[in-house]
Amino acid sequence: MYKLTICHLYPDLMCLYGDRGNIIALTKRCEWRNIDVETVSVSLNDDFDYKNYDIIFIGGGQDFEQTIIQDDLMRGKRQRIIEAVEEGKVFLGICGGFQLLGKYYKTQSGSEIECVGALDLWTNSSEKRLIGNLVIECDFLKTQTKDGYVVGFENHAGKTYLGEGVKPLGKVIKGFGNNGEDGFEGAVYKNTYGTYAHGSLLPKNPALTDHLITLALLNKYPEFQGLDPLVDNLENLARTTVIKRILAEKA
């Protein structure tokens, strides 16, 4: 029997807008396939021994909470997060969790708050919050039967720009994406994925969820042959219903 261990980083601080739904989706989709799952919470002052984990998740936080983790993150966990990303651990960062994997966050006043620097990207605070439904097209999820669309809801006050070292997660079909300017959303580097899409992201986008689970199983079990299919009628209905509605809205 396969077993995966999920690490939820700062679940008491960085867990906004249904971020918890992502952990629920990963867990359930493993359990339904008889893959054993354990979730470990790692927060302030806890050791982050990434080698014990197969999937690492960090969600979004409000400004207040992000300032609380800043010290703990930069002193203690930063180097290990960089190592985990470089080693190809499956890592998902959403919203604030996405931003802090980058190099810095520049505030309104122009000062740069240093971030983890695991990904070649940076964020400038924006005057206007970028809020609304988000639909993107991800090439790596496209198959003969799947459109590769991912749907979520974005709500961020920062504009993120990608350097050459990372690729975007997808192309924006509707919404703002990273910065509302270049038409791209999120970032991918090795097995690390960052995005502004919550909603919750993973329950309604089962292809993406299964992609992450597959990568994690391949990391741990090189002989792994691929996931058994599940009946995803409800998930796909929810996904296509909301996508259809969003795309029908006026720009």
Binding site: D12, L13, C15, L16, Y17, G18, D19, R20, G21, I24, A25, K28, L44, Q62, D63, F64, E65, T67, I68, R129, I131, G132, N133, F153, N155, A157, H198, G199, S200, P203, K204, V231, N233, L234, E235, L237, A238, T241, V242, R245
Partner: protein, 465 residues
């Protein structure tokens, strides 16, 4: 000349607004916000101009505004004070303007001089400094509709700003909510705190404190000697010493607690009260305490306060019971994770079999971001699923709710999607037998839609009355 023009604008706004209210009522529409919108267009500073004609009580906070307002209204009645109130959840500046203008004669004289105003948190920031309320009641702060306000701390900031603009107001604040209680720090306003005495409600689940586990002043993690629910309880910051303030109005015992009522002992400066609230749920005890704070302020005696608390019936839509032959429909508004969890825990106290419908909309008044359903513990429904005859989802985002139920552990074959409200009600009633209950848990605009159908079929009262 300038003064004259100002007065003319005000008079014009009053007359036109009154006509609009009458017109909308004739067309059988609620008419609670639109007339006020017109008034604000004609006379933008109408609220400031009207403020000295009224004695104003404002109620704000994330959850429980409507129920608290309704109990507070009872306190006013008991004190013999005639009042007007924005009863139907028209709680933005426009709804407030409509309400105040309705209490004026055509010449602008206030016929009723006290206004009880439930106020949206963001609207409070702008309206409170203009209205100069005598009393401000704040219920609590939870994560709610974040897509509209950005962040919980901005919501708190809105209310704080409104209070800073109203330095004369007496504040009635929730002592157990570290965010709400912080509004009473460093201000000159008189403050009346309310809360639960330490350890009265022994909740062991400390993990559900996700909204505010860290000190608002210095960011250290609070320690708690007891928790009622979510982040409410006897908190103390080990670093800066900020702690749950002493409460003048305090629930000292929960004597009994079931799915219809709770009986509580409340300590007030005038003495102890043992009251049986015809309202279930821990959150409603908080609402009763907040309103008791107003009763205390108004100088009511313990017997009077007890009578108000016991005589209260549930507010519009928040929890509404409709009897259909020998079956019963209970509709309870859900709008954010904490409120949803309280309602789910309330369902757990239900012994009979029942049918459940969840109706999720994503209009502005519901919150356009539906991800909050993942922060609520829908898993509770799977624990009690042998008591639930059927699960329905409805509303614009019914499919999202269906996925939530599936991942909460309800088999997907059991989840039925029904967008049509009439058919939804038929099927729900069909699925239960006599003496059983149908629970409908809608978000705000879904509630209005379902209520319209229930109104047509079962002759409910109009909600603005």
């Amino acid at each position: 000349m300038k003064d004259f023009l100002k007065r003319m604008r005000l008079m014009a706004a009053i007359v036109i607004t009154k006509l609009a209210v009458i017109g909308l009522r004739l067309m059988n529409r609620g008419g609670t916000s639109l007339p006020g919108k017109i008034a604000l267009k004609i006379c933008p500073d109408i609220l400031s101009q009207l403020s000295d004609r009224f004695r104003i009580i404002m109620i704000t906070g994330t959850n429980g505004k409507t129920t608290t307002s309704r109990i507070a209204a009872g306190m006013l009645e008991k004190s013999g004070i005639k009042y007007i109130a924005n009863k139907s959840g028209a709680n933005l500046a426009s709804g407030i303007a409509t309400t105040l203008i309705e209490a004026l004669s055509l010449t602008g004289k206030a016929m009723i001089r006290t206004a009880l105003l439930e106020t949206d948190e963001a609207a409070f920031k702008i309206t409170a400094p203009k209205l100069k309320p005598e009393i401000v009641i704040v219920t609590n702060f939870f994560k709610d509709q974040l897509d509209r306000f950005g962040e919980l701390y901005s919501t708190l900031g809105h209310v704080r700003e409104g209070i800073l603009g109203s330095p004369e107001s007496t504040l009635i604040l929730n002592a157990d909510d570290s965010l709400c209680a912080s509004l009473g720090q460093g201000v000159k306003n008189p403050v009346i705190y309310y809360g639960f005495a330490d350890g009265v409600y022994p909740e062991t689940d400390f993990s559900s404190n996700n909204d505010a586990p860290y000190c608002i002043n210095c960011s250290a993690r609070y320690s708690y000697s007891s928790v009622t629910f979510a982040h409410l309880g006897h908190f103390r910051c080990p670093r800066c010493g900020y702690e749950r303030p002493e409460a003048r109005i305090e629930c000292t015992q929960v004597l009994s607690y079931d799915n219809l009522t709770s009986t509580v002992e409340v300590k007030t400066p005038a003495g102890k009260i043992a009251a049986r609230l015809a309202l279930p749920g821990l959150y409603n005890i908080y609402n009763a305490l907040a309103a008791t704070g107003l009763g205390h302020f108004l100088g009511l005696g313990v017997d009077d306060i007890k009578q108000v608390l016991e005589g209260f019936e549930s507010g519009f839509g928040r929890m509404e019971t409709i009897n259909v032959m020998d079956k019963e429909i209970k509709m309870i508004l859900v709008k954010n994770p904490t409120g949803f969890n309280q309602v789910l825990k309330y369902l757990l106290t239900q012994k009979n079999k029942c049918a459940v419908a969840l109706a999720l909309n994503d209009r502005l008044a519901d919150g356009t971001d539906v991800s909050w359903i993942w922060d609520a513990d829908l898993e509770i429904l799977s624990v009690m699923k042998d008591r639930i005859r059927s699960f329905y989802v409805s509303g614009i985002r019914a499919e999202d709710m269906a996925v939530r139920l599936k991942y909460a552990g309800i088999e997907q074959e059991l989840i039925k999607i029904e967008h049509d409200e009439n058919r939804l009600i038929d099927q729900l009633l069909n699925d239960v037998t006599d003496n059983e209950t149908v629970y409908i848990l809608p978000t705000y605009t879904a509630m209005l839609e379902i209520r319209q159908v229930l109104k047509n079929r079962f002759k409910l009262k109009d909600f603005w009355k």
